[in-house]
Point group: C2
Chain length 96, copies 2
């Protein structure tokens, strides 16, 4: 079953550009994964420190595999220092 | 400039099916709008009372027009009774 993930990611005010750069690198790596259908980075029009990653995955195995990938783990090692709080991650399916 | 909107919508526990039905009607109406590129309803895989609407709009005028549409206003009249709290709506642009 295809999954759609919405991740709300908030930067500390002083780290917006650094986080943006780290997220761009994460996008490049993630799009190479065979189970990734799409992985698109968005930024709020009113609050630049707020990012939204919209992700489509082939199935839950693909999403699970993502979380062991080097680019995902590398992002994890620096995320704590850059983020205002833990990302709010919603795993969903499209129902209409 | 194209806009992507992410709306997090939480139902009161007793209203999940009623809210889902109202959101499906909202999708049908919204997809008829000329400025709507996509408008897709998602439901959490772990918390069925949590919905995510992922929306793509041609521009800010299209999004503004949406908020005056009969189907949008009709949803608004019943939403208060069905929702756990106000939707968390993020207006973003795709940056990568």
């Amino acid at each position: 079953m295809k999954l759609t993930v919405t991740a709300l990611i908030k930067s500390k005010p002083e780290n917006v550009e650094e986080l943006k750069h780290a997220l761009e690198i994460l996008v490049d790596g993630t799009r190479q994964e065979p189970g990734c259908i799409s992985y698109d980075l968005h930024q709020s029009t009113t609050e630049p420190s707020t990012f939204v990653m919209l992700e489509e995955w082939k199935d839950s195995a693909a999403l699970k595999a993502h979380q062991s990938m080097p680019h995902y783990l590398a992002f994890g090692t620096i995320a704590g220092a850059l983020l205002l709080n833990s990302p709010d991650v919603l795993v969903t399916t499209k129902i209409k």
